[in-house]
Symmetry: C2
Subunit: 389 residues, 2 copies
């Protein structure tokens, strides 16, 4: 995949720095994006306007040479074994990384905020000028997706829809005994439904192990993953955010279901949340800000008399999170649809996920995923909104 | 779970530091171990000999209060919203974290090497004395498992055995046409077998999305995950290292299979690798070093005329990795069974995984997992070694 790093070149030029360094495993999205390589242990990458260079162990060298975006050196090229014998591990690593940077003509680097302090201090000791990129320049580049990245998210969304369908089918097929859902003679639990979802995702090339299937009071806490038997008449929030196992890109969707009849409160919350989602999409356009999209959702809830964090920063009920987030290699990345959300650009892929919460009633959340286009947006999500099953 | 942090108290006392700080998400094992809490976004924890304190967002506060090992403050207790309005994000976060440390009487902290440099520099700016723990004191504490942690690994090993059995059953059931494995009318691929393994793991409460099912030349690269149709007569390395989704602890096992008849070379490698594994277990005991266990494996291979990294640091064939690694919340953690392996202690949980590799023939690896006990070791792995299927 070709990535557009012109903004990174401009940043390095402005800051008077030779390169941008990352020391992390492949599950770090800045590393994966710049290096094009995924490995389980941390490895060192330096980007310069001329080249991207990776420093790999002997174990990873072969695969890195095949898969990485740039040139690959191996640690033995810099006599790492001798350094390890002569110095403490941290010092040996710093001398190795400094020699690698020197070999690539790099005396000064920017690093992401998440760069490990041990390695940073080590490089500084070795005379490398190291500046922390607090603006997140690579995050901003990553936020604007290429056509290829957009296809990755679209594909992950199809897998997500299949898994949501598997979930809905399971809830549909369940019977109710004494207010509890039963399936194949056993109480149907959050864990059982999550496994059904995750198995379906695996069969579609995606993975997730934090699926939210939260019922009743669990649903009132947006980060509670849910546990135990599911209850009829209670809202069940199902939030699925799979990652494609091959390319690493995510999708994200939430639906709220009630087995049987929903209470008047939950029905009202549901209708209001549909309205809030629509208001957010009405505001979603290039040139608008994430703050404006978030404000549109707050308006809907506040006009209906519900608390929001905007109106009361200490509230624990009502609309108690942001409207959405960018999504790509990270499930949460730039841009933000929150009070601090900046200008939206074509290629930004974002979630729209308003919701209401109160331990007295549970919670409701509905979430779609969309890309900002030149003249508005395209909603990737093609899944019905059916509250009562 | 109770953890024994006396070594951490001694370290802080020696260094003259008030506390040990971590700023990471729950997938960081130091964070998970010290805080007892798992959250998807980074959060700040400080350990002192008197208490462990977490700083959580409003979104995580409720769950953290229920689940975390220590006391939980929320960011709004420190007027974070005003800080965000007044300062750049990095500065606001540093002032928040410094105020939290101050409220807990902490002026000086050790941090792990992986602590993010952005946050570290920010705390230094705010006058917090910050020392990098390059010795990995928490890693050393984590390496010695409690009885509860040992049970977690034992349980994950049972799940692992079930998934290896599902894999072996699938390979057994496959037919061979023109040298390629077929199942249900289609070529049987690495990806299909990995999915079978991962679905089985999910059904046993475990997760993994980097299963290695590597055949032929893919098997010659220890980190190649494998892809495409599996071939008869070729070694297939199956390496499974699941994580229990609930408690976060791992297991690890490797077996090598050949569908049909193995070549003389692969048969010889297999027998030699069994011998090397046995030699490693013979050396595994409290008081022995990881280096000695590793040397026992190198002896076997070198005596049989195969290259090792010990004999030739640049070799790309033969025994080209270490003998094993500690395992727990991380799949790779202390102690190391390698040339640099230190003294082994009761409670260390380690893998033993010798292997031989050569692109001309493929690869063979056999891996068990064991705990070092007061008088030797206990091998958790109860799974047959059957080369030809």
């Amino acid at each position: 995949m070709d990535i557009d790093t012109s903004a990174l070149d401009a940043y390095l030029d402005e800051q008077g720095l030779d390169g941008y360094a990352v020391y992390a495993a492949g599950d770090d999205s800045t590393q994966r994006y710049l290096s094009g390589f995924d490995a389980p242990d941390p490895f060192f990458t330096v980007y310069t306007p001329e080249e991207t260079a990776l420093l790999a162990s002997g174990l990873e060298y072969g695969r890195a040479s095949k898969e990485a975006r740039g040139v690959v050196d191996r640690t033995s090229d810099y006599d790492y074994q001798s350094l390890r014998e002569e110095y403490e591990p941290g010092t040996a690593r710093a001398k190795l990384q400094a020699a690698f940077l020197d070999a690539h003509g790099v005396d000064s680097v920017a690093v992401p905020e998440s760069f490990p302090v041990g390695a940073a201090d080590g490089l500084r000791e070795e005379g490398i000028a190291l500046a922390v990129d607090s603006a997140g320049v690579v995050d901003d580049i990553r936020a604007v997706k290429t056509d290829e990245e957009i296809e990755y998210v679209r594909d992950a969304t199809l897998a997500n829809e299949a898994s949501m369908q598997a979930c809905e089918d399971l809830l549909d097929a369940a019977s109710v005994e004494n207010g509890v859902l039963y399936y194949e003679g056993e109480p149907l639990t959050s864990e059982r439904v999550a496994t059904e979802i995750e198995v379906t995702l695996l069969q579609h090339g995606c993975a997730l192990d934090e699926t939210i299937v939260a019922c009743g009071v669990d649903a009132a806490d947006p980060h509670d993953r849910g546990s135990g038997p599911l209850e009829a008449g209670q809202p069940i929030i199902v939030d699925i955010f799979p990652r494609d196992k091959e390319n690493g890109y995510h999708s994200d969707m939430t639906r709220t279901f009630v087995k049987g009849e929903a209470s008047d409160t939950i029905s009202e919350w549901y209708a209001l949340t549909q309205e809030a989602k629509e208001a957010a999409f009405d505001a979603l356009a290039p040139g608008a800000t994430g703050a404006e999209v978030h404000a549109a959702v707050c308006e809907v809830y506040e006009n209906a008399g519900y608390p929001t964090l905007r109106a009361d920063p200490a509230t624990e009920t009502g609309f108690i999170h942001s409207t959405g987030h960018g999504i790509g290699l990270d499930v949460h990345e730039a841009p933000s649809l929150s009070p601090r959300g900046d200008e939206l650009k074509p290629g930004h892929v974002v979630t729209i996920e308003p919701g209401l919460y109160d331990p007295a009633h549970g919670g409701v959340r509905i979430e779609d995923i969309a890309v900002v286009t030149e003249d508005g947006y395209e909603n990737f999500t093609d899944y019905p909104e059916r509250l009562e099953l």
